[in-house]
Symmetry: C2
Subunit: 636 residues, 2 copies
């Protein structure tokens, strides 16, 4: 492992003190357009306000006011973890304010922080659901109470604020510090030796410790990580694997149990492993990541096969039509992958991040950013009911995007991810800059030796595979620009260097992995990566029973789907959706503006037609429909 240390404070969600790569902050990478630029704009202009509206409307913000007024438990609303949605909202706003200044948003942020501050007890405890007369005592239900989970999200919000507005006087960082101190006191050495039923405190404390230079927090995170598997939480219908308390984390073969819990825990454990130099733990996590990707991850990057316990299934248990693939699990998987990428530098992690971003995280919100999928099925057999934009959905598996849920973890989770997305695009190491994700962007980085470099990225990716990097600022000495050639590339990618000074163009072919150019770049130098984005069929691993005899169509990083609305006007319009097959000897064909079509067949009725596919993340944008990502081939 090629590592070096850094103590520079950056506006990043994750700032390891050591590792193969160092992250760039949201103040260093500005996304300027494209899919993610539009998504960030919608997130900032519509989603954040939507979330605050629903937090207020559902009374989850008012719970803090009631706590401050001393009137709880009367009138408390929401589930036991509703406080955490407020913290995720604050985190999202903090990232948004780190990305662009907005006085009105800053004022809203401070107003919410003040309401949280007023609810904090003198000893640092903050939770609207426990600890008062008429409520269950503090820490009395660690299995299901989510108290530490909520504090973990509070810590992550404070981390975002500390790194994007250092020295700000709103008080959020102090609230988190006070709560974290209490956690260390209660759960530290010699104290309560249990864990939280929903991992999150680990990642929250580890990062808060990094952000504030407080090793006690990192150490407390390590204690929580190591206590998993001791069976301190009660057994129940789904088993202790549900909360990763069945076996020690370093002995597990793959991620297991509740998919969000598993990925949050793995993320915190990766932080702890890096900070404590625990290469054994890091290797164990890496092995779990690999096995989970191979055997327990959907083609979309989605994770979690069970509706019942929102959990991973056994190896190869990946049903398409009962895919749970919770939005939050996709986000948590990105958190885990990103930490391994920073620690180890392996391009595989960025590959999975890309797949998950385009096919899970981008699938959840509607184009308007005001309705969301909680679960992301890969097969819709019956058209769902249209969700009412004014009604809370009791159904996590709603087949149409809903504005809010009884359990509404996913909307604010997407918001904090989109607001901080710039920080996941590029990194630096001793040799230069690595570009992991492609979007129109302005990148400014300080290399290890202090040199400042900058470049613009222009691309229509993923509709077009051409990524053009134009250097805008460089020193006289050489540095290395590395670009990821995704694992999905079938055939050769082509890298072209066009020096500004009229030197000869340099052309090279590149296979999946990292392709690098090292030179004394000059402003105006252009590096172009051309990735082939022709549509392709992908066949499943033969051990995945659920999709045997099926293919999926991909184009670039995007997964496509067959949606019933696209049969209108074709000879297959009257077909039963369950009878449709695809003829793999024809196509898939590129059509129109970056579209894809396949030859679909109804063997029962003897009909066939060319049918356009929909980008999976855009399905159900045209009303209730049936849909399938994996389509059986003729004769299967």
């Amino acid at each position: 492992m090629n590592t070096s240390t850094s103590t520079i404070t950056r506006a990043v969600p994750v700032a390891p003190s050591t590792g193969a790569l160092r992250p760039l902050g949201v103040d260093q990478v500005a996304i300027t357009g494209g899919v993610w630029g539009r998504r960030q704009e919608v997130n900032g202009t519509a989603t954040l306000a939507h979330i605050e509206h629903w937090l207020e409307r559902e009374g989850w913000l008012a719970n803090f006011d009631r706590a401050a007024a001393g009137t709880l438990p009367e009138g408390r609303r929401g589930r036991e973890f509703s406080d955490s949605e407020v913290y995720k909202y604050l985190e999202a706003v903090a990232w948004e304010l780190g990305r662009r200044s907005d006085a009105a948003l800053e004022a809203r942020f401070r107003a919410v922080v003040a309401r949280v501050a007023a609810a904090q007890e003198p000893d640092g405890y903050v939770n609207t659901r426990f600890g008062r007369g008429g409520q269950e005592p503090r820490w009395s239900n660690l299995e299901w109470g989510h108290e530490l989970y909520c504090i973990g999200h509070l810590c992550q919000a404070a981390v975002a604020r500390a790194r994007t507005a250092p020295g700000a006087d709103d008080g959020l960082v102090e609230i988190a510090r006070h709560a974290a101190d209490l956690v260390c006191e209660v759960f530290g050495p010699g104290g309560d030796e249990r864990i939280c039923g929903h991992a999150e405190i680990e990642v929250g404390l580890a990062e808060l410790g990094r952000a504030l230079g407080e090793p006690r927090y990192v150490e407390q995170a390590r204690l929580f990580v190591d206590r998993h598997g001791a069976g301190t939480l009660a057994d129940h219908e789904w088993g202790r694997s549900y909360y990763q308390d069945d076996e020690p984390l370093r002995e597990a073969a793959a991620l297991r149990g509740h998919a969000v819990r598993a990925n949050y825990l793995a993320s915190g454990a990766a932080d702890v492993a890096v900070e404590s130099g625990d290469s054994g733990l890091l290797a164990a996590l890496d092995g779990q990541w690999s096995r989970t990707l191979e055997r327990r991850t959907y083609v979309t990057g989605g994770q979690g096969s069970h509706h019942q316990d929102e959990a991973f299934g056994d190896d190869w248990e990946l049903p398409a039509d009962r895919a749970y693939s919770e939005t939050c699990a996709g986000i948590a998987s990105i958190m885990f992958s990103w930490r391994l990428l920073l620690a180890e530098g392996d391009v595989r992690y960025a590959d999975l991040i890309e797949r998950t971003l385009f096919n899970v995280v981008e699938t959840s919100p509607s184009a308007e950013g005001t309705a969301f999928y909680y679960a992301n099925t890969l097969h819709q057999r019956v058209p769902g009911e249209a969700a009412d934009p004014d009604v809370v959905s009791p159904r996590a598996h709603s087949s149409l995007r809903a504005p809010w849920f009884d359990v509404s973890c996913c909307p604010p989770n997407t918001a904090r991810t989109f607001a901080s997305l710039g920080a996941y695009l590029a990194t630096t190491d001793a040799s230069g800059v690595q570009l992991h994700q492609y979007a129109p962007a302005i990148v400014r980085a300080a290399l290890d030796d202090g040199r400042e470099v900058a470049f613009d990225v222009a691309t229509e990716y993923p509709r077009d595979g051409l990524v053009r990097v134009t250097v805008t600022e460089a020193s006289d000495s050489p540095w290395r620009l590395s670009l990821r050639v995704p694992a999905w590339v079938d055939g050769a990618a082509r890298l072209v260097v066009r020096p500004a000074g009229g030197e000869l163009e340099q052309v090279m072919e590149a296979a999946p992995g990292m392709v690098s150019i090292e030179r004394a770049f000059a402003p105006g130098d252009v590096v172009e990566l051309a990735l082939p984005v022709t549509p392709r069929f992908v066949r499943p691993d033969p051990r995945v029973d659920a999709v045997r005899g099926c293919v999926v169509v991909e184009r670039g990083p995007e997964v496509f789907a067959l949606e019933s609305v696209d049969l209108a006007g074709t000879p297959l319009e009257a077909s039963d959706f369950a009878d449709l097959r695809v003829d793999p000897s024809v196509g898939p064909r590129a059509v129109g503006d970056a579209g894809v079509e396949v030859e679909a067949v109804d063997e029962r009725r003897g009909e066939r037609a060319a049918v356009p596919l929909v980008r999976y993340h855009e399905w159900a944008e045209r009303g209730p429909s049936t849909m399938r990502v994996w389509v059986p081939v003729v004769g299967a």
Copy 2:
């Protein structure tokens, strides 16, 4: 529909006043050996005592004592529906006592009835979970409280007692009558217009009305049936379809929602339809039965695709490895099919009953009858943990049979089914006797015109396909003996009549359906049905995604499975179970004593071997293992 009416009281679970066929009681059909004879013996000698032991140990019986003593809610144990397990136990014992006399068992029965009687309130209400100070009020939580459900099971227990011990002075019938009167008062015309979240009161009241000649109960059952779909119960995460309150029963296309609830409701609705001559409702139920069989039923006869809500999935959604196929749903399906068989006489219903008996109901209990499956998966990817015979399982989906569950509906449900199984073998109509299920038995029947006939059945079924009926008592005039030729028969069945008087043998070929002989039978006349029981591959409907490219092996009515323990000593012993395929060009072969083997292949390792299959209902009897019913074919 060929119908006639009957008012004769028989020892039967279902006694319609009209219908195509009339049932014979447990006092008229005695199973004398074979699979079901052994199972009845184990049930009577081991399972009933096992159940009473656990009801006592878990405090579910003591709840009634606490109610009588006025000390509830303190010390109440068990879930909100635990009373119903006591009633199902009483029903099972009543059937057992109807089948054979047993003074000790009779005394135990009376002792439990006395404890229930002491808990009944003066107005007839009986439930240990609701209605007292410190408990929720009566009828305050119809969605989840199961109060009417419990009374429904009380009614079914009373029906069993009324029909097997008419005039007995234990008091069970009076308890049920008193409770049923209260239900009619509270929920009758002009009263509370809601329904119970778990159907059962319908079938309980309808049958109690028939047994006691009380049309008010049947009418109340009709009211409950008709109220489904009015949305009187609250919506929730899984939707009102969970308790069949989303649309009127007569408008539904198929069974939907919770699979036990759906089948109990359909059973009660069938009773109501028959009693009220509602041919429209009966036709709707018949259509739902057909569509459910075609699209929502496992090859085992199992029903229920979802673990989360124990519910049917959409059409064709039949995952093997997350099959829920609750034991109780199989039993409830048999209840529904039996009612349609009596009403309409169609052999299809008996076909499904046979498939479900052999592959769901018989799968649940261990050979010793003291451990049970709650869910019956069709694919076990990872060996389960061995269940502790002394510990209550919190896991409905335990992969090894457990002695008892937190929700322990299945053990007593199997017990009442096995104890009354004789009543499901044969029926009469105006023309004679129909034999639907094959087991060694002594059958005695009164024909409509009063003639008494009797015959013995000798068979090794299903290990052997020969069924020999020997007439032991007959009148001089002709009557018709009909035997079911199951739908699984591939090729011709052969029927031979060997008259006792030395007349010429009569031989005929028979296709699936009913085959009949009408003659003036004489004692000693023999009728032999030879059913071909050669093993066969069965391919799935191409619309079932989960098992595309797979085959299942059946032999007679039994489904077979590939179980990992059978790989020991073969070249495939070291194979990953997920890599195994079957070569459909070879076999399946009959081996040994009614065994079956297939040619299994590991394409990855280039190995192949003949491997014996296990009867699905006998899997996991040799310790933790992996297993699959549907096996992929080579190259799929």
